[in-house]
Point group: C2
Chain length 229, copies 2
DNA sequence: AAAAGGTGTTTGGTATACAATTTTACCATT
DNA sequence: AATGGTAAAATTGTATACCAAACACCTTTT
C-alpha cells in the first residue's frame, strides 16, 4: 500500500474524474425531466454537442445511456427523440414501479436498520413542513426522496438501480399529478400509513400500502390526462 | 390518423438495418452468457475491436449497452470486465425477478389472450419432452421461454424489457442450477402448478406460484454455490 | 533486500475526418 | 393541385488519430 504524508486525504481529494459523457448525461437528464427538452423533441447530435461544448462522441454515449433509461428514443439513422411515452406505456411503468416498491417495503421491514427507518421518518416530517410551501417541484422532490429512502433501506442494490430508472421515466407524469394541491393531502395520508407499517415492521401491510399508493398515483395521473384533453 | 391500404403491413415491412454496435452487442452478449467470456474477464477495447473486425467506436457503444444490462462492469479509465456478481447481488437479482414475474402472472390472468395461454401451454409440453433429453442448454432455454411467454402475455412492454435484462444478468446462475437433473423434476412440477393457476385465471395463486418458483431457484443456486466451495 | 521513485508502454477518453443514410426541397408529370 | 421522382443538404454511423491517465517494470536509494 502506497503511503505518503497526504495519504489520508486521498479519498477527499479524489478528484473523481467523471467522464464528459457522464456529465452530459446528467445535464440532459435534468433538461428532460424539468421539461426544458419537451417530449418528442428531436435532438441533433451536432447541435447539442456544440451547445454543450463537447464533441459528438461523448454526447452520443450520453444519449445512449439515457436511451437505456427510457428517457430518449433512438432509432437507427434517425435523430434521437426525447421519449414521449403513450398513456398505456405510462400505466405499464406505474404497474412495474408499484411491484418494485412493494418488494422494497417487504425487504425494508426485514432488513432496514433503525437509522434508515429514522431517515424515512425525517423525510416524512420534512415533507409535512413543505406541504404548505408553494413550490411544487420542491415538494415533489421530497416526495420522491421518501420513496427512494425506502428502496435504499431494502438493501437491494439491483432494486435501487431499477427503481431509480423507473422513477426518471415516470418523473414527468408523477410531477404533473403532484402539482395538484389536493393531491398533497392524499400523499401525506398515504405516506403516513406506509411509515406506520414500516415502524410496525408489518411487511404485508407495507407492501400493500405502497402498491395502493402507487396505483392511486397512476389513477390520478390518468384522470388528469383525460381532463386535460 | 393516416391510413393507407398497406397500413397493417407497416410493422412487417420494416427493413431494419442494424448498426455494427448492435451486432457487436449481440455477439458479446452471447459470448458472455455461454461463458466463452468468463466472469471477471477483462476486455481490451483495441483487441476486441480487431477480433470483431470493427473499430473501437461501435465496440465501445456495444460495451456500454451491455454495461446498462449489467453484463459488463465499466469503471472510469479501467478496462471493462465481464460482470462477476457477488452471491449477495445475485440473490438481489433473484428477489427483483421474483417480484417482476409475480406481477407478470397477475397481469397475465387479467389480460392474456387465449392464444397466449395456448402458447405457454405448448412451451410447457415441449419442455416436458425435453426433460429426458441430455442437452442442458436446450432444456434451459425452453425453461426461460416459459417464463418469457408469461411475461409477454402480461402485455406490459416495460415489464417485458426489464424482465429480459434481469434474465440475462441471471443467465449463468440459473443455468448452473438448471444443469442438475434433479432440478428438472422440480421445474416441471412447479411449472405445472403455475400453468394450472393461469388456466384457472387465479391471479393470486399464479403470482404466489411464480414467486415461490423463483425463490426456490434462488435457494437452489445458493446451495449449489456453497457445495462448489 | 525492500521501498521509493522514475520511465516507458498500454489503455481508455476525446476529437476530428470520412462514408453511408436520410431528410428536405424542388421540379416534372399527371 | 397532387403525386412521384431526383438531387442537394443535413445528419447519423464508422474509422482513425491524438492525448492524458493508469499500470508494469526497472532503476535507484536507503
Amino acid at each position: 500500500m502506497k503511503k505518503t504524508g497526504l495519504a489520508d486525504l486521498d479519498d477527499d481529494l479524489g478528484v473523481e474524474r467523471v467522464s464528459l459523457a457522464e456529465i452530459a448525461a446528467e445535464r440532459l437528464r435534468e433538461l428532460i425531466l424539468v421539461g426544458r427538452l419537451p417530449p418528442g423533441q428531436t435532438l441533433s447530435e451536432r447541435e447539442l454537442s456544440e451547445r454543450l461544448r463537447i464533441s459528438r462522441t461523448p454526447l452520443r454515449e450520453a444519449i445512449r445511456k439515457l436511451a437505456a433509461e427510457r428517457l430518449i428514443d433512438v432509432l437507427p439513422n434517425r435523430r434521437p427523440q426525447v421519449a414521449d411515452p403513450s398513456p398505456e406505456y405510462i400505466d405499464d411503468l406505474f404497474d412495474v414501479q408499484a411491484a418494485l416498491e412493494s418488494l422494497a417495503g417487504r425487504l425494508f421491514v426485514e432488513r432496514a436498520s433503525d437509522e434508515q427507518l429514522e431517515e424515512v421518518t425525517a423525510i416524512h416530517a420534512r415533507l409535512g413542513e413543505l406541504a404548505d410551501s408553494s413550490d411544487p417541484l420542491e415538494f415533489f422532490r421530497m416526495d420522491m426522496q421518501f420513496h427512494s429512502a425506502i428502496v435504499h433501506g431494502s438493501g437491494n442494490a439491483a432494486l435501487a438501480d431499477t427503481h431509480r430508472q423507473y422513477n426518471a421515466a415516470l418523473f414527468r407524469a408523477r410531477f404533473m399529478s403532484s402539482r395538484q394541491i389536493r393531491w398533497r393531502n392524499v400523499t401525506m395520508a398515504e405516506h403516513k400509513e406506509i411509515l406506520a407499517s414500516l415502524c410496525d415492521r408489518d411487511a404485508e401491510h407495507a407492501a400493500a400500502a405502497l402498491t395502493s399508493h402507487l396505483l392511486k398515483g397512476k389513477a390520478n395521473q390518468s384522470i388528469l390526462r383525460n381532463e386535460g384533453e
